[in-house]
């Protein structure tokens, strides 16, 4: 057993560091630090995706034949960790990490040839059509319906919490093509061009002041049957496969550590009157740091199992839950550290392009919005309550 990286892994670490040093501009870095929502805006995020793609690193988890870099689990860990340390843009995961693996796993050769290169290069920008106003945790109760009409499906219904639908040119969606004996039956996985007539998007502002999610309406939207991935009625299986990617992408501790470091730096600064001198704040910083240490070790244990081809088992279902809870703890601490500056609201977005003097020092601008938006961490991708159900079922067998 050893926590240290070997010579090859250290060489790779150097390679990642020098790639980042060469490609990460100050503008991207500042924009990322000043983005209080989950993903960077497309101009920033896709600029980074293009740089990664040029290096051959556009899709770390994909097989080599589709453009993946054939990294070991340890290399993926190093890549994610170095990226977090450097503060690279948060590329929207809907393309590379979510719809990509589904197309690779279940798509037709034509779909693979058409979509995968466009995901890699950042030419296409994807959003996810899963949740509906009446179908949250009980996702398979979804009602958006696709009715066969010749070579098309005609889609009617609505999707909600659609992250970056207002930027996306494509959506992957779960729609109902028939009514089966179980509500999970009769769901199909469809790829939709967002410019198709009949699609409208309504912005939803979240409590942190950001426009990241939307509601999308479908009014007699015609989508070619050729845009269905896999078999008709099997969409639930594909959708679940994808949700496992969303939950288990699992290398989160480095980003949490950077988030905590930013808060700890503020606590040690005169900007907060040295909040850290309050024993209560110092104590809580340690408490969160230790939680991050524990999560990091669990991630490394999963990674070690993967390295030797073992199945890490249900332990990975813990990762999403702890990651989201710790992220919230970091943002909660942030609000308490900045004290009276938490009263100030900066309504303009993006925060990195303000044309006026902001109400607080720049280092604090994202603190309250991140805390408020961050309430969603334990809701999206399966609520914490759903995660606990999964842990009870998969890990404990009850």
């Amino acid at each position: 057993m050893d926590l240290k990286f070997n010579a090859e892994e250290r060489a790779f670490q150097d390679e990642v560091r020098s790639f980042i040093a060469k490609n990460l501009t100050d503008e991207m870095k500042r924009a990322t630090a000043l983005t209080p929502s989950v993903f960077s805006d497309p101009d920033i995020g896709m600029a980074w995706q293009r740089a990664l793609h040029k290096q051959g690193w556009g899709a770390p988890g994909w097989p080599v034949e589709h453009g993946g870099p054939a990294w070991t689990p340890a290399q993926r860990w190093i890549f994610e960790t170095e990226s977090a340390r450097a503060g690279v843009p948060n590329v929207n995961v809907m393309g590379v990490k979510m719809v990509g693996p589904v197309i690779i796993g279940f798509g037709s050769p034509e779909q693979k040839n058409f979509y995968l290169p466009r995901i890699l290069s950042g030419e296409d920008y994807w959003c996810q059509g899963y949740s509906e106003p009446g179908s949250g945790s009980d996702l398979s109760s979804l009602k958006t319906r696709a009715v066969r009409d010749g070579d098309d499906y005609v889609i009617n219904g609505t999707k909600i919490w659609t992250t970056h639908a207002h930027h996306a040119n494509r959506m992957f969606a779960l729609v109902r093509t028939s009514d089966g004996p179980r509500q999970q039956d009769g769901i199909s996985f469809i790829l939709i061009d967002m410019k198709t007539p009949g699609i409208t998007t309504r912005p939803i502002l979240t409590i942190g002041g950001d426009h990241e999610v939307n509601q999308v309406f479908f009014d007699d939207v015609r989508v070619p049957v050729a845009n269905r991935v896999g078999e008709e009625g099997k969409g639930w299986t594909y959708g679940k496969y994808l949700l496992e990617f969303e939950r288990g992408s699992g290398i989160a501790s480095a980003k949490l550590r950077e988030g905590l470091k930013a808060i700890a730096d503020l606590a040690e600064s005169d900007l907060t009157g040295r909040a850290i001198d309050s024993p209560d704040i110092a104590f809580r910083i340690s408490e969160v740091e230790v939680d991050i240490d524990a999560l990091e070790m669990t991630e490394l244990r999963v990674l070690s199992a993967l390295q030797t081809g073992q199945n890490p088992g249900a332990v990975s279902s813990i990762l999403k839950l702890r990651n989201s809870e710790i992220r919230q703890a970091v943002t909660r601490l942030g609000v308490d550290v900045i004290g009276h500056d938490a009263l100030a609201v900066e309504p303009m977005r993006p925060l990195y392009k303000l044309n006026h003097e902001p109400p607080t020092p720049e280092e604090m601008l994202t603190v309250v919005p991140e805390y408020l938006n961050g309430r969603a961490y334990t809701i999206f991708g399966g609520t914490s309550e759903i995660q606990r159900d999964i842990i009870a079922k998969m890990m404990l067998g009850i």
């Binding site: 057993m1 050893d2 926590l3 240290k4 990286f5 070997n6 892994e9 340890a74 860990w77 040690e268 850290i276 024993p279 110092a282 104590f283 910083i285 340690s286 408490e287 740091e289 230790v290 939680d291 240490d293 524990a294 999560l295 070790m297 669990t298 490394l300 244990r301 990674l303 070690s304 199992a305 390295q307 030797t308 073992q310 332990v315 813990i318 839950l321 702890r322 309550e385 606990r388 159900d389 842990i391 009870a392 890990m395 404990l396 009850i398």
Partner: protein, 379 residues
């Protein structure tokens, strides 16, 4: 980077788990709870035969050269059986201090005898007025013509009643008064002036308070050459905290398994307790905390030989986090067993009490979060 067990480590785990499952059961534990010694000399002999007493000792002194990870593997299995033999006192603390601080002659005199089971040790450091401050030692060691004279009081000495020799920390005084240096002195259990009052320890085993009334010792009772021993004490206790963390993981895992089984069998309102979401979620939280504790114990073990600040932060982080997890898992295990959980008729309480004792020993969560924070600011 590799956190998989090696083949040797896997074998060690299997043999430890097999031993504990075979030799340690509720009857044995009940017997030990009422035993004046608190553990079984026959089991101690078996530990020696299995090589566990030699496990972390240096190879040149009949040891096996194992590290903190191996100790952790053993301690986790000990936790599952609530083993009460004086392993931490003799091997994890006592032997480590001699191996680190002793002269070659001192090591030669002690370590092979620890390995073969003929020498048991204890470490007397804590004092009432010091609370958890390792640097605060009032017990004095004064120069005499023959060697040293020790005077003072120690509390919470693990297994001191069973030790052949007790390693006592004392502030060294020279002709000008206190030197500011702490020395470690090997005191034979039979030394005149040494009074030991032992008591049954919370969660099994025994501990004692010690009075040293002018205990005269020869020159070579001092371990090593008289350098300040505080860094070695901090190092040894950080290692012991990693070991206690692994033991707590074994205890918590047993409590989780037992509680899970119980909630499947116990029926109320016509269905098993585990059919209730509130119970399933509680158990999910317990499972998660056992896993977090497992990660922290391993992390502390892997960092025992790191630079002092890194090592100490890992040890304190683990002690704080594991203590917090242990209280939650232990308290909830009792809660989910209902009234039976509060009785001595089940063993849930015995396991819980051992967790409380481990949490308290060398300082609880609050102390170690504070130490973690303090060391973080200096770094």
């Amino acid at each position: 980077m590799d956190l998989n067990l090696s083949d040797e480590q896997r074998l060690l785990r299997e043999s430890a788990e097999r031993f504990v499952a075979g030799s340690y059961n509720a009857d044995h534990r009940r017997k030990m709870a009422n035993d004046p010694l608190g553990f079984s000399p026959a089991v101690w002999k078996q530990f020696a035969e299995l090589g566990w007493l030699a496990l972390p000792l240096p190879e040149e002194f009949d040891g096996l050269g194992g590290g903190a990870v191996e100790i952790g593997i053993l301690m986790e299995a000990f936790g599952r059986g609530l083993v009460s033999e004086p392993y931490v006192a003799t091997v994890v603390l006592g032997a480590a201090l001699i191996a680190r601080c002793g002269t070659n002659e001192q090591k030669q005199a002690s370590l092979p005898k620890i390995a073969d089971g003929t020498l048991k040790l204890a470490f007397a450091h804590s004092e009432r007025a010091a609370r958890f401050d390792l640097a605060k030692v009032a017990t004095s060691a004064t120069r005499t013509t023959q060697g040293w004279r020790l005077a003072g009081s120690k509390i919470a000495v693990l297994d001191g009643h069973a030790a052949d020799e007790i390693i006592v920390s004392a502030l060294m005084h020279d002709h000008h008064g206190p030197s500011g240096r702490i020395g470690l002195f090997v005191v034979p259990a039979t030394a005149p002036g040494l009074a030991i009052s032992d008591y049954p320890r919370l969660g099994g085993g025994r501990a004692c308070n010690i009075e040293l009334s002018d205990v005269n010792l020869p020159e070579d009772a001092l371990l090593g050459d008289g350098h300040d021993a505080l860094p070695a004490i901090e190092w040894a206790i950080d290692r012991a905290m990693a070991a206690l963390g692994a033991e707590a993981v074994g205890i918590m895992q047993t409590l989780l398994d037992t509680t899970l089984d119980y909630t499947k069998i116990r029926k109320q309102f016509g269905r098993p307790l585990s059919a209730n979401q509130v119970i399933r979620h509680r158990l999910a939280d317990m499972a998660m905390q056992v896993d977090e504790a497992r990660s922290m114990a391993l992390r502390a073990a892997l960092k025992v030989d790191a630079a002092p600040t890194e090592r100490a932060r890992a040890a304190s982080g683990a002690k704080a986090k594991i203590g917090k997890c242990a209280r939650f898992v232990g308290e909830q295990s009792i809660q989910l067993h209902g009234g039976m959980g509060v009785t001595e008729e089940l063993e849930v309480g015995a396991y819980f009490k051992r967790l409380v004792a481990s949490d308290t020993l060398f300082g609880g969560s609050a102390h170690h979060y504070a130490r973690h924070a303090e060391l973080g600011r200096k770094a």
